[in-house]
């Protein structure tokens, strides 16, 4: 494979969206070509750093309560079904809403 072909497929290679034989062809090229190997390795490192380095805030119960109250006030038909104050007494369980 030529370097230009490998570079075009590098994104798909990183995302493992190629056939097994194409993945192997690219891997063989990366073993022989330091420039393409650097490109692949550095892009993967940047992706890992992004995943590790992004902020991961969580919604506090207070904020969640505020937003849900806002929603309940905005849609009057919801208020007739449940009072907002009752919302947090209800447990959230997986599969709780299967009909």
């Amino acid at each position: 494979m030529k370097c230009t072909e490998v570079r075009e497929l590098l994104g798909n290679y990183m995302d493992q969206e190629l056939t097994e034989s194409m993945m192997q062809r690219i891997e063989r090229h990366l073993l022989r070509c330091p420039a393409c190997a650097y490109e692949a390795r550095s892009l993967e490192q940047a992706r890992q750093l992004l995943r590790q380095g992004v902020e991961t805030p969580m919604v506090s119960e207070q904020l969640g309560e505020r937003v849900l109250r806002h929603i309940a006030e905005h849609f009057p038909h919801l208020q007739t079904a449940h009072q907002p104050e009752e919302l947090f007494s209800l447990p959230l369980l997986p599969g709780d809403f299967e009909e």
Binding site: G53, V54, V67, H70, L78, H82, L90, L92
Partner: protein, 180 residues
């Protein structure tokens, strides 16, 4: 499994329409953290992201009346979140946004250094690059889902993702004072 979740969420949307607040609560708590994180990363500050969070879910439930199960509820929600963030970024400001100052997070020095470098590197990229990186490489949406969210074709998203990854790598190298 994804289809199971999609049909479950379609039922939850139907229950919201029928006035079931519990369905709203389920959908909200399922995605609230992810939406807040996405908005915080895109806007660069948490205060704006918290305001956007409320707006996103309000718009989402307003739109639920016309929601058809094209793709996942999550992808649809993130599309709204992105639009809300873009609107927010376009608003004129009397005061400048926080700009890479001392972060509010805890953690050891290396962890904080990494977060600052990543935040600063991300903010140097065009908004579309930030979006596609956050959607595909952090939230792990597929290229097809990301294409639905940002309104582009799948090949266009894949090409943009490659350019964005390259730009991020170069920006991170510069943040750490290394030559590319």
């Amino acid at each position: 499994m994804e289809n199971g979740r999609e049909s479950e969420e379609a039922r939850l949307v139907a229950r919201f329409r029928a006035g079931d607040m519990q369905a709203v609560e389920t959908l909200f708590w399922r995605y609230a953290d992810a939406v807040l994180a996405y908005a915080t990363r895109l806007l660069g500050n948490r205060a704006d992201a918290e305001e956007v969070l409320s707006e996103v879910f309000l718009r989402a439930f307003e739109g639920c009346m016309g929601y058809r199960a094209e793709g996942t509820f999550k992808a649809w929600l993130f599309r709204i979140a992105r639009n809300c963030c873009i609107d927010r970024l376009r608003q004129p400001r009397l005061l400048p946004l926080e700009d890479g100052g001392e972060p509010a997070w805890g953690g050891d020095t290396a962890e904080v250094d990494l977060r600052v470098a990543v935040q600063r590197a991300l903010k140097r990229l065009p908004e579309e690059y930030q979006t596609v990186l956050l959607l595909c490489d952090v939230e792990e949406f597929t290229a097809k889902e990301a294409a639905q969210i940002i309104g582009r074709s799948v090949p266009s998203v894949k090409g943009m993702l490659y350019r964005a990854r390259t730009a991020l790598r170069d920006a991170l190298s510069e943040e750490w004072g290394e030559e590319t």
